[in-house]
């Protein structure tokens, strides 16, 4: 169809919010985002799964009788029972506790040292930092073009040419295993992809007339990049970030599984699987089964959410 379909304007009462321009904008954005999610079945299912893990992770201490380190020598490698609802691992530690405390590290806290942590999960920080660097690189590269673009793109190409698993191995081999290093690894891995996405969006948006208008006003490149261009790239960036958080969780699991993740005895999903793997063929699969399911469900949930959002925003356009 070559006919332009004008989108129906929202009902007039959408304007009756009270408050400043900014809060109104944010509220409007939030409510729009939320109705967006609910409009898509896929996204709703995804949101439910993700919310489940977030809630469980936040309230972990209240949801279990055991700490993740408590060992029950009487019943190692036990199956689910009334005492240990998901069973125990080879040291008799409660799997449910380890599972939900593991979720904490992924989604809620970033352990800096043994006793000090900052809020925001390891996976989230990995994506956030990559997002900051990648967005800046992408904006600069796309907006300025010419040799800056060429330089940045060649560097990113080189980064992307390195197999990701190799980056992990190299980083972990030279830096060692810790939450911070996991964040560093994920930042390095995530940055090129985000930069490329933002660059392509920038290349598109910078041809728009409102950008030309800003240029003819003599606005500074910083203003144009961050005020005129970036806000209009947010949709794809948000969807992409969601996928990336999913991927970061995937990657954390992989690192843990390879023994490159959180140092033991931290409850780390990946290393739980790796430890439990030794006992599968001996008939006690639980220790590796549960964390596998946990990672799988969380990543699938994030992907469903992102997919649903993307479909919905395309329909909206």
């Amino acid at each position: 169809m070559n006919e332009k379909r004008t989108t129906a304007s929202p009902p007039a009462d959408a304007q009756t919010f009270v408050g400043s321009d900014e809060t109104r904008g944010i509220l409007r954005g939030l409510s729009r985002g939320f109705s967006f999610v609910l409009a898509s079945k896929t996204a709703t299912v995804g949101l439910v799964i993700v919310l489940f893990w977030v809630v469980v992770a936040i309230f972990a201490p209240f949801l279990t009788l055991y700490t993740p380190y408590e060992q029950d020598w009487m019943s190692p490698n036990a199956g689910p029972s009334s005492e240990h609802i998901l069973g125990t691992d080879e040291l008799g530690r409660d799997l449910w506790s380890r599972l939900i405390y593991g979720a904490r590290v992924v989604l809620v806290i970033l352990p800096i040292t043994e006793n000090f942590w900052i809020p925001g999960g390891t996976a989230l920080w990995g994506v956030l930092i990559a997002l900051l660097i990648g967005t800046t690189l992408g904006l600069v590269s796309g907006y300025y073009g010419a040799w800056i673009d060429e330089l940045v793109m060649r560097l990113l190409d080189a980064m992307m040419a390195v197999p990701i698993i190799l980056l992990y191995l190299l980083i972990m081999a030279s830096l060692g295993a810790s939450a911070i290093n996991v964040v560093i690894a994920m930042t390095i891995v995530g940055t090129p992809g985000i930069a490329r996405l933002v660059r392509s969006l920038t290349l598109d948006i910078k041809t728009r007339e409102y950008v030309k208008s800003a240029q003819t006003r003599g606005e500074s490149p910083l203003y144009i990049m961050f005020i005129e261009i970036l806000p209009n790239a947010r949709g794809p960036i948000i969807v992409d970030s969601m996928l990336r958080v999913g991927y970061a969780i995937f990657a954390m699991g992989t690192l843990g599984f390879l023994g490159l993740g959180m140092p033991p005895p931290s409850p780390d999903w990946g290393s739980m699987v790796a430890k439990g793997r030794e006992f599968i063929l001996m008939g006690s699969p639980w220790a590796s089964l549960w964390p596998s399911i946990a990672i799988a469900s969380l990543v699938v949930g994030l992907n469903l959410l992102a997919d649903g959002l993307r479909e919905e925003s395309m329909r909206y356009q």
Binding site: M1, N2, D21, R208, E209, K212, T216, R217, G218
Partner: protein, 705 residues
């Protein structure tokens, strides 16, 4: 099996009371209703209307290709006497591409990028007939020849991207004609083309229709084009057919207020702001879901509407043999098809001559050159070696603009008009030449200019959908230049924005709206307000109305005129539509391939002596008057590359006049750069042909009036 009647009195296609709807989440939305027409062999029916009125939907409804959520809700479509609705897909497939063929708006998109042209053509034959591949190939070559494609055998082996836009459209037309269809549906076939190319394609369509006796349905929003090609017209508005009749009747005696409004809102070629007024239709086309079901759909925008109009849906009222209009007052209201003569309020816009303007020069451009480096991907150029090639986008251009005047710049795509403006406003570095604004040298790019200088030059852009930043409310976007240039004290910014909104006929209510809540015309007004915010001396309008619907165009043009009057701004007005430029400008420069070829007062451009290129442009302009007599002068070939422009006169490769008007077939044009010749009153032509000879040429248009 569908029988073919080759009886020329029988309509090929007969559509009766057609209704089409789209399924959406909130229920069915009616896109088209109550459409009836018929087309006989050798006739063209023009379906005309603004965007969103359901023209294309009808076209795809006829071939039942409405997409997953479209469906025909009622009526009948009879093709060669047989009902098409509820026919099986297999039967329709046999008709499509065989008896019914289509031509589309964007030929680049309509052709497969990775299949050779020859394969795309010949498969139409091999799949509908039992022709062998070789025969089909030969036939395809013959058809390409028929559509005047140069070197057809070679074209067959090429890919889409290797052809120019005009050539691509010829391929699509050839593809449609291969099976000698009974019905040819054309959906905006020339909209994406330049005006001279458009004229040639329209000629071709006309010729083929006569030769093959096809019944044509021609869909367009362009009144001029439809006047040129159609025998009968259907005027569509908001999914309804509001008027139908012969082209002559409708252009001469429109009976529906919407048709009248449309005709009154476009300037005729040659009309200017000093002698006529454009009359816009207020409001906008309602979206399908918001259309009144049991009332006249046009009532909300109609000046004649009464309560009666809002009570019931009017039926088509016959006015003559073929002429019908869907308006209860069709017989009573006076026919008012023309733009109004400016008599009573002559004081609003005065002729430049009478205006005793202060003739101070505002802008002076001398020998301006803007070259781009051609980015080459070769290895040599990566290493920074090898010859650098330049696109000579603007090459040796000199123009002047006086205070309070409007300079129009016309030319087809790629002629350098946009680059000229970019150089002027400082978005593109100037390669050579001088630029003076109010006596100040402005060679620098915008980042090196004083903000006092920047604020004096602002732009109005072309595309309403991208002129505003979708992320911010209207008020904030207008306020930004005010804050930046400190036009008013901080506390008064909001009031100033509201004042500007009012100046562009939008109220305070628009302050907090987001761009997506506005219509195209409203966005364009906000764009104008934003340009005005810094109180510039010079406003540059880059095709400000060409992306707007016809009825809205007029309102924006009027607004710009009014602003110029009140604020006394000078303007540069870029457009490819010669009627609009003529209407709006005091002086006009015609550009071709990076150079100005003719420049002078507006009226002098539209009468002899012409530069041969101007003459060709003027004779290509579609005039919304079927009776206007227009000279047929067509350009051959395609526009040369600006990387390596022709020597001598840049236009010599396509000039239709040089061989007849110059000795030795115009050999001089290939060798020497032509001189500027003066035609008096500042009118100058860049041509070797003596101006006396050029003056003897007939005017391009004889207006019927």
């Amino acid at each position: 099996m569908i029988h073919t009647h080759e009886n020329s009195d029988q309509p090929v296609i007969e559509v009766i009371d057609l209704g089409i709807a789209y399924e959406t989440r909130s229920g069915d939305v009616e896109a088209v209703r109550g459409v009836s027409f018929s087309v006989k062999p050798g006739q063209t029916l023009g379906l005309v209307g603004e965007s969103g009125c359901g023209k294309s939907t009808i076209a795809f409804g006829i071939v039942n290709f409405l997409g997953a959520n479209g469906k025909i809700t009622g009526g009948s479509i009879r093709f060669q006497g047989n009902e098409l609705i509820s026919r099986s897909d297999a039967e329709l497939k046999r008709l499509r591409g065989n008896r019914i063929a289509m031509v589309y708006q964007d030929p680049m998109q309509a052709l497969n990028p990775s299949v050779r042209i020859g394969d795309q053509l010949s498969e139409v034959l091999t799949c509908h007939t039992d022709m062998t591949g070789k025969e089909a190939w030969e036939r395809s070559i013959a058809m390409l020849e028929r559509v005047y494609m140069p070197d057809p055998a070679d074209i067959m082996n090429r890919y889409t991207h290797q052809l120019s836009g005009g050539q691509q459209q010829r391929v699509v037309i050839a593809m449609a004609m291969l099976n000698n269809p009974a019905l040819l549906i054309m959906d905006e076939p020339t909209t994406a083309l330049d005006v001279t190319v458009e004229a040639a394609v329209l000629d071709l369509i006309e010729e083929l229709k006569d030769e093959f006796q096809t019944a044509n349905i021609f869909i367009t929003h362009n009144l001029g084009v439809v006047a040129r090609v159609s025998d009968f017209l259907c005027v569509m508005y908001a999914g309804e057919m509001v008027e139908t009749g012969t082209a002559e009747d409708i252009f001469k005696r429109p009976r529906h207020p919407y048709t009248m409004g449309l005709l009154a809102s476009v300037p005729r070629l040659g009309e200017s702001k000093t002698d006529s007024i454009l009359q816009p239709i207020r409001g906008r086309v309602p979206p399908p879901a918001a259309r009144p079901r049991d009332a006249c759909v046009f009532a909300p925008r109609c000046d004649y509407a009464t309560d009666e109009c809002r009570e019931d849906r009017p039926s088509l009222i016959p006015m003559g043999t073929d002429h019908r209009a869907r308006c209860i007052y069709a017989r009573e209201i006076e026919s008012r098809q023309r733009t109004r003569r400016r008599t009573e309020d002559k004081n609003l816009v005065q002729d430049v001559g009478e205006r005793q303007l202060d003739q101070e020069e505002l802008l002076r451009i001398d020998n301006l050159k803007v070259y781009y480096r051609q980015e080459s991907n070769s290895v040599v150029s990566i290493l920074g070696l090898g010859e650098k090639s330049y696109v000579r986008a603007v090459d040796d251009v000199s123009v002047r603009l006086s205070m309070g005047h409007t300079l129009g710049i016309v030319g087809e795509s790629g002629c350098g008009k946009s680059t000229l403006v970019k150089g002027l406003i400082g978005l593109e570095p100037v390669t050579d030449g001088s630029l003076e604004f109010m006596g100040i040298d402005i060679q620098h790019t915008v980042s090196q200019r004083e903000s006092q200088l920047i604020k004096e030059m602002q732009m109005v852009f072309q595309n309403p959908d991208s002129t505003l930043n979708p992320s911010y409310a209207v008020g904030r976007q207008i306020a930004r230049p005010i804050r930046r240039f400190k036009t008013v004290p901080r506390k008064q910014v909001r009031n100033e924005v509201i004042r500007l909104l009012k100046a562009v006929r939008l109220g305070e209510a628009y302050y907090d709206r987001l761009p997506r809540q506005l219509s195209g015309g409203e966005k364009q007004r906000v764009g104008i307000a934003r340009a005005l915010a810094s109180r510039p001396d010079l406003i540059i309008c880059d095709e400000p109305v060409s992306a707007l619907d016809v009825s809205v165009q007029a309102a924006v043009i009027n607004l710009l005129l009014e602003i110029q009057q009140t604020f006394g701004s000078s303007m540069i007005f870029i457009a490819h539509d010669l009627s609009v430029v003529r209407f709006f400008s005091d002086d006009i420069a015609v550009m071709y391939l990076g150079q100005v070829v003719e420049i002078g007062p507006a009226e002098s451009i539209y009468d002899p002596p012409y530069h041969p290129y101007t003459e060709a442009l003027l004779s290509a302009v579609p005039i919304p008057d079927p009776e206007a007599e227009q000279k047929v002068l067509r350009l051959s070939g395609t526009i040369p590359s600006a990387l390596n422009p022709p020597a001598g006169c840049r236009f010599h490769t396509r000039c239709p006049r040089r061989s007849e008007m110059l000795p030795h077939g115009g050999k001089i044009c290939e060798e020497q750069i032509p001189p500027w010749q003066s035609g008096g009153r500042g009118h100058r032509i860049l041509c070797h042909i003596p101006i006396e000879k050029l003056s003897t040429i007939d005017p391009v248009v004889h207006n019927s009036a």
